[in-house]
């Protein structure tokens, strides 16, 4: 099967920040992204658990976004501007996709 190399960006970020990140992705003309709600975790601020939280603060989400390598740098610069002062982890990996449209 013919595959096309792309980049998979995974942004783990606090729920209240989600809107700011998706706004960046929207203005960067990213073709799409998918958000997953985390159930718990631990960081330097200690452990957390979704079922032990009231409200949005303290919960993390993962935003997964598959993009063309050519767009990667511009997107990362913008994302970094948002999360610089915030809790958040941005990791990038190489993937191959089956269809080259919509990336």
């Amino acid at each position: 099967m013919k595959m096309h190399p792309k980049k998979r960006i995974e942004i783990i970020i606090e729920l209240p920040l989600q809107g700011r990140i998706t706004q960046v992705l929207d203005t960067q003309d990213v073709f799409g992204y998918t958000i997953f709600s985390a159930q718990g975790g631990r960081g330097q601020e200690g452990p957390w658990q979704r079922d032990g939280i009231v409200g949005d603060s303290g919960r993390m989400v993962a935003i997964v976004c598959i993009v063309d390598p050519a767009r990667l740098d511009g997107i990362l610069t913008q994302i970094y501007a948002v999360i610089e002062r915030q809790i958040g982890i941005v990791s990038v990996s190489d993937v191959e996709v089956v269809r080259a449209d919509h990336f």
């Binding site: 032990g52 009231v54 409200g55 949005d56 603060s57």
Partner: protein
């Protein structure tokens, strides 16, 4: 179903009629009765379970549903009560008082924290915003306390509560930024974001519907918003106990005694600041008790999320632990009976 239909009214007028014998309540009997109410005991079970590291937990989507239910019910009942007794010109004055408290209390809180705690500017401003805003569950627990003592209060207090959620956020942000040129793009949540916050919309929307539909609406909704209300509140407080206990377990070590102390005396300051306003407005004992409780309570839902956006450098472990782990249990167990005794004395 005629017997059922009139029940909410019976219930409410019953509650209002018997107000007399509460004069006998001393603060101590009030306190001990409160400590043995199901809702406080469920909170204690949750707190204990979390501190003992039980794996008991309430699924988050269900806990959120419980809190939506509580806001729907308290809003609707408030609105229906306003429809019953007619709107009151005092409502506007009381909302004004609430807004002033919400804007003003953070300044006092900030000053206290900078003077008598090791917290820096950012952390102090974020904590201060929480104490200017309110905790709707504390408000509900106080209403429940009043109802079980047959003390009269007005339905529109719900609207006052809703109006006190947001202003403190603006003061908190202003306190953090005052005199500091922020080189970075400022990330203040927009006024729309603050005012159309889910819990405010739920409270105000249900209040409006309760008001519009009045006695007929209440007849329809009572088996949902009145009958199971206290049970749902008890279950929600179990969850609050679990949340508070987990928070205490993981972050309390990080807090020094002066910061913890703030979580105990700040509600009293809030109450003290609200007292002259309650006297000035000539509030009834019930209304005064609720206003004092609102002033004494600290937010743990709306403000934390806003602070993550606006003041990301402030540490959530501090403000969440203070408002949910220290002040909320204090108000639930000790504060509410105290504010009621005070309100009773000044009314």
């Amino acid at each position: 179903m005629p017997a059922k239909a009139t029940q909410p009214h019976n219930h409410q007028t019953g509650a209002r009629r018997a107000g007399g014998n509460t004069h006998m309540d001393t603060i101590f009997t009030g306190l001990s009765a409160n400590l043995l109410s199901p809702i406080v005991l469920f909170f204690v079970v949750g707190l204990g379970a979390a501190l003992a590291r039980s794996d008991l937990s309430i699924p988050e989507p269900f806990a959120k549903a419980l809190s939506l239910y509580l806001m729907l019910a308290i809003g609707f009942k408030g609105g229906a009560e306003v429809a019953r007794v007619g709107p009151d010109i005092d409502l506007l004055l009381l909302i004004l008082a609430g807004v002033i408290l919400s804007f003003g209390l953070p300044v006092i809180a900030y000053w206290a924290l900078r003077a008598a705690s090791p917290l820096g500017r950012m952390d102090s401003a974020a904590v201060a915003a929480h104490y200017g805003s309110i905790s709707i569950v504390t408000f509900i627990a106080a209403s429940d306390f009043l109802e079980s003592r047959a003390v009269d209060f007005d339905g529109y207090l719900v609207a006052v509560a809703a109006s006190m959620e947001a202003p403190a956020i603006l003061t908190g942000i202003w306190l953090a930024r005052r005199g500091h040129a922020t080189g970075k793009v400022t990330q203040t949540p927009s006024l729309r974001e603050i005012l159309l916050n889910g819990s405010i919309v739920m409270l105000v929307g249900s209040f409006a519907i309760g008001w519009i539909t009045g006695a007929d609406g209440m007849k329809t909704m009572a088996p949902f918003v009145v009958d199971p209300f206290k049970g749902v509140l008890a279950l929600f407080l179990l969850d609050m106990g679990l949340v508070a206990g987990r928070g205490l377990r993981s972050s309390a070590r990080g807090l020094d005694a002066r910061t913890i102390g703030f979580g105990l005396y700040m509600p009293l300051i809030g109450c003290a600041v609200a007292t002259p306003l309650a006297i000035l407005l000539g509030l009834s004992a019930g209304n005064a008790a609720l206003l004092l409780t609102l002033a004494a309570s600290a937010s743990y839902i709306a403000v934390p999320a806003a602070m993550r956006l606006a003041l990301p450098e402030a540490r959530p472990a501090i403000y969440a632990t203070l408002s949910l782990g220290i002040t909320f249990p204090f108000n639930l167990a000790v504060g509410i009976p105290l504010y009621f005794t005070l309100a009773h004395a000044i009314a």
